[in-house]
Symmetry: C3
C-alpha cells in the first residue's frame, strides 16, 4: 500500500471520530452524527482539491472515504451507548486528541499533494497544506454552530504551519519522510498544547 | 421549454420561500430576507458547478435565478405582512415543505448535470446530486446561524441519497424520467418523515 | 505601483482590522485574532478566484496578503491593550467603518478582475464583484458564529451592487476610474447608512 493512502485512512478515521463526538455533544440524532463525521472526514480534501484545481475532488470519485467515515461513526455510536452524561468532559477532551491526529495527517497529505502538483512553490505548498489540515475541522465546527477550534485553541493553526514548513524541507529527502515528519510535528505540538493547556492570554483578560 | 429549466425554476421558488421564512423567523430586515432567499436558491447550483469544474457557475452568468429568488422573497414578505406571532410554529412547519421540494428538485438537477458531464460514474453522480440538493439549505442555515436541517432531521440526506440512486438507474430510460423519479422519491420520503415525525432517537435520549 | 495592488493592500488592512475587532469582541485569544484577520482579508479574493477559475487562488501563491493581515492584526492587538470594556460599543461601531472600506475596495477589485478575464459580461462582472466584496466579511462572521453583517445591515449588499453597476459603466473610461468610482460609491452609501442608521423596518416590527 501507499503511505499517502494509509495516512488518509487513519486521518479519515480520526476526523470521523471527532465529528461524531461533536455531533453527540450537540445532541444530534443518528443520521446527524454520521453526516457530521462524513463532512469532517472529506472536508479538508475537498478544500485542497478545489484550491489545486483537482476537479472533481477525489472525495466525489472515490467512495472509500465515505465508507470509512460511516463505519467509524457507527462504531463510535455503538461504543457510546452506555456512556453517562457526566463523562461529557472526558469525551470533549478526547475529541481534541482525534482532531490532532486528523490535523497532522491531512496537513501532511495536503502538503505532498501540493508539492507533487506544483513543485517549487513553498508558499503554495504550506498554505494548501494548512487549509487541507484545518478544513475538515472548520466545516465540522461551523455546521455544529460552534466557534471553530482553530479560533479558540491558539496552538492549532500554528501546529499545522510549523509541521508543513518542516515537512516541506523534509520532502527533499523523500515524500514519505516528509509525511512522517509533518504528522509527528503537528501531533506533538497539539498534544503538548492540549496537555499543558498552554495558551496566550486572551484579549479581554489582558486588558 | 426544457424540463431541467422548468424544474430549476420551481426548485428556485421553493428554496427562495424557505430562505425567506428562515430569515423572517430570525427577524432579519427586508434586505436580509431577500439575500437569504437568493443564497438558498443559488447555493446548491454554485456548489455543483464548483465541484464539476463548470466555471464560472451558471448562477453568475444567467440572472434568471436571481430574479426568481428576489421576486419570490418579495411575494413572501407581502403575503406575510399580517401574520401574527402565534403562527410562527405553522410558518416553521411550512418551511420544511418548501425545503423538501427544493431538496428534491436540486438533487435531480445535480444528478442529471453530473451524468451528462461525466457519464458512467455513479458515485460521482450521486454525491454531486446530494451536494447540489443539500447545498442551498446548508448555506441558508449556516448564514442564519442555525444548526443545519441536514444535521437535525435524520430523514433528510437519506431522502436525497435514495432519490439520487434510483434516479441514476432511471436515467437509462430517459433524462426526464430520471428527473421526475428522483424528485418524486425525495419529496415523498421527506413528506413522510415530516408528517410522521419519524426519527431515530438522538444520542442523549438513548444513553 | 499598480492601483489594483495598492487598493488591495488598503482593503486588506481594513478587512484585517474588522476581523481583529470581531475576534476581540468574541474574546478570542491572540492567535484566534490573527487567524480571523487573515480569513477576513483573503476570503473575498479566494471566492473570486474560485468563481473565475483562477486556480490556485492568488492568496495561495502571493504571501503579501497574509503578511499584511498578520501585521495589521498585531498592530490592532497592541493598540487595544489599554482599551477598557466600556468602549466595546465604540469598537463595534468602528468595525463597521473598516468593514465598509474593505467592502468597497474588494467589490472594485472583483469587478475589474472579472471584466479583464471575461469582458462583455455585465451580470458576471457585477455578481463576482459583489461576492468578492462581501466574501471576507461573510466568512469572518460565520467563523465568529454571528449572523453575517450582510443579513443584518440592510444597506450592505445594496451598496456593493450599486457600486459595482456604476463601476461597470465607469470602466469604459478607464480601469482606474472604475476602481475609484466603485470604491467611493460603496463606501459613501455604507457610511451614510451607518451614520443615519437608515434601515427598512424589519419583518417582525412591521407585522
Amino acid at each position: 500500500m501507499d503511505l499517502i493512502f494509509d495516512a488518509e485512512i487513519v486521518g479519515s478515521i480520526a476526523f470521523a471520530v471527532s465529528g461524531a463526538i461533536v455531533a453527540m455533544e450537540r445532541r444530534l440524532d443518528f443520521f446527524g452524527i454520521i453526516i457530521l463525521a462524513v463532512i469532517t472526514t472529506v472536508g479538508g480534501g475537498i478544500v485542497r482539491d478545489l484550491l489545486l484545481g483537482n476537479i472533481p475532488p477525489v472525495a466525489f470519485t472515490d467512495p472509500v472515504y465515505l465508507f470509512v467515515a460511516i463505519g467509524t461513526a457507527l462504531a463510535v455510536v455503538l461504543l457510546h451507548k452506555r456512556t453517562a452524561d457526566k463523562r461529557v468532559a472526558r469525551i470533549l477532551a478526547s475529541m481534541r486528541y482525534f482532531d490532532a491526529i486528523g490535523l497532522g495527517i491531512f496537513t501532511a497529505v495536503g502538503l505532498v499533494t501540493a508539492i507533487q502538483l506544483r513543485p517549487g512553490e513553498p508558499y503554495l505548498a504550506v498554505s494548501v497544506a494548512v487549509m487541507t489540515g484545518v478544513g475538515g475541522g472548520v466545516l465540522r465546527d461551523i455546521l455544529a454552530n460552534r466557534v471553530p477550534l482553530i479560533l479558540r485553541r491558539e496552538i492549532y493553526a500554528v501546529a499545522s504551519i510549523v509541521g508543513a514548513v518542516i515537512g516541506y524541507f523534509a520532502y527533499r529527502i523523500s515524500r514519505d519522510f516528509a509525511i512522517l515528519t509533518c504528522v509527528v510535528i503537528v501531533v506533538a505540538i497539539r498534544l503538548y498544547a492540549i496537555h499543558k493547556d498552554i495558551h496566550l492570554p486572551n484579549f479581554r483578560e489582558k486588558s
